[in-house]
Symmetry: C2
Subunit: 264 residues, 2 copies
């Protein structure tokens, strides 16, 4: 019987050329498919939920695959992680990608099409101090950011809008650029760090990074918070802020609603 397996995946995006399989390049999808093919004993193709760019991290990426194979569901995670981590016991160094959860889903489930929403986090290190250890894990902004202004601007993004202004060129063509942002929180984490957390039913190409870049410009006083509404209405990419760099971005969670509960 054909099985339909859903994976929850974590990765440090620093040394990957993004999620999507590309010939000759080290990608998350490529590494996972290679390991899964060995573990399942037949060619596996993953349907990923979010095609994250090079340098973007994930705490809860999701991907599904179908097939007939003997390995029990609860053994897949350990087998793949052992393959990926290779000599972890010897070297004490784990891989930069691992599977966090594996579950069997109903035959008609599809990781991407059945997604009801996603949560992303964007981390800004707001400090003039260089931190050589944080460079791959946040966006370092030297000039002081006005948190209250960023929060005021963020509130204007929440809701259902045509977000064409926050879409980069180069993504797959979409039927519509209307999306719903359920929540957009900007808050101070540890000393010096500002986190942006955004949930929505879907995101356009580079949308979270352009929102982060726009909020940084608001925080720097280059844009007024209330400009956001007219930027959205204009639908013009050039009115919005810059695209914040990939290393600050984390794909945190994919929501499936009830679907996730009715496992096979």
């Amino acid at each position: 019987m054909e099985r339909n397996i859903l994976l929850t995946i974590e990765y440090d995006g620093t040394n990957f050329c993004g999620w999507q399989r590309q010939p000759g390049l080290r990608t998350v999808q490529g590494q996972l498919e290679q390991a899964l093919t060995k573990v399942c004993g037949k060619e596996i193709t993953l349907n990923g939920t979010s095609r994250t760019d090079a340098g973007v991290h994930a705490l809860g990426q999701r991907a599904s695959f179908r097939g007939e194979f003997g390995i029990p569901t609860d053994r897949i995670m350990l087998a793949v992680n052992n393959l990926l981590c290779g000599g972890m016991n010897v070297r004490g160094k784990c891989a930069d990608v691992c599977i966090r959860d594996v579950r069997e889903m109903p035959a008609d489930f599809h990781a991407r099409f059945d997604s009801k929403g996603k949560k992303y986090r964007y981390i800004i290190r707001n400090s003039g101090e260089i931190d050589v250890f944080a460079r791959n894990y946040c966006y370092q902004v030297k000039s002081p950011l006005d948190l209250a202004a960023m929060q005021e601007a963020a509130a204007l993004i929440v809701g259902t809008h045509d977000f064409a202004c926050f879409q980069a060129a180069g993504g797959n063509p979409r039927e519509t650029t209307v999306r719903t942002v359920f929540s957009l929180d900007v808050f101070r984490r540890e000393v010096g760090d500002i986190a942006i957390e955004i949930t929505g039913d879907g995101f356009l190409y580079n949308m979270v990074r352009i929102i982060a870049g726009t909020l940084v410009e608001v925080g720097q006083g280059k844009k007024r918070p209330r400009e956001i509404s007219s930027i959205i209405t204009s639908k013009e990419r050039q009115r919005a802020g810059h695209t914040a760099p990939p290393e600050g971005l984390y794909l945190v969670e994919i929501y499936y609603g009830e679907l996730y509960e009715r496992e096979a």
Copy 2:
């Protein structure tokens, strides 16, 4: 007049082939000398205090250089860091090496020969959970470690001994393998992390990593704590434990005693 400048340097060792300049390879010394040569307007050669291996990190490496050049001491740090960080303002991503402090020293001062001691830290992530974000910054040990046993063993290393058993082959020849370990503390940091902090008047090649590997084996019950004394007395490398991987190691501080105070 010839000046004698002492730098304090921080780096993430992950993407460096160690400290020491090597033709065609990206090393910390190489990157710094290149930047300093531009900033000072003449060829600069650094005397580093510790030749850290590839993957080893530093919070307080020190290096000195001599020469006649116009740039004021207090401008060197900013100029070099700006060069190293290149487009930080544009990309929001800092370099993996930076200068933390610059000071002018007496003419006869030498960063390595005048060092009175060093402090290293070794970080162990004692957990079966994979952490893809920690892989370059600690030694991941899955099996539970007995902290008390490690502390008992550590106490036997403190003092003046012939540490030939903790010396790897391949280092520069030394006049003697006798060293003094001033302190060696093993303690739990955050949940799951164990830190080893060691200070001494000097360390043999790979000495800290071999001590860390030996303490891990004590923590795993593969060696008894009291074996340490006979391992030291034997002077045999093969009696000690494995060499713990480089990514857990941090050069924390170099001590100069009074010398450091009498700046030029």
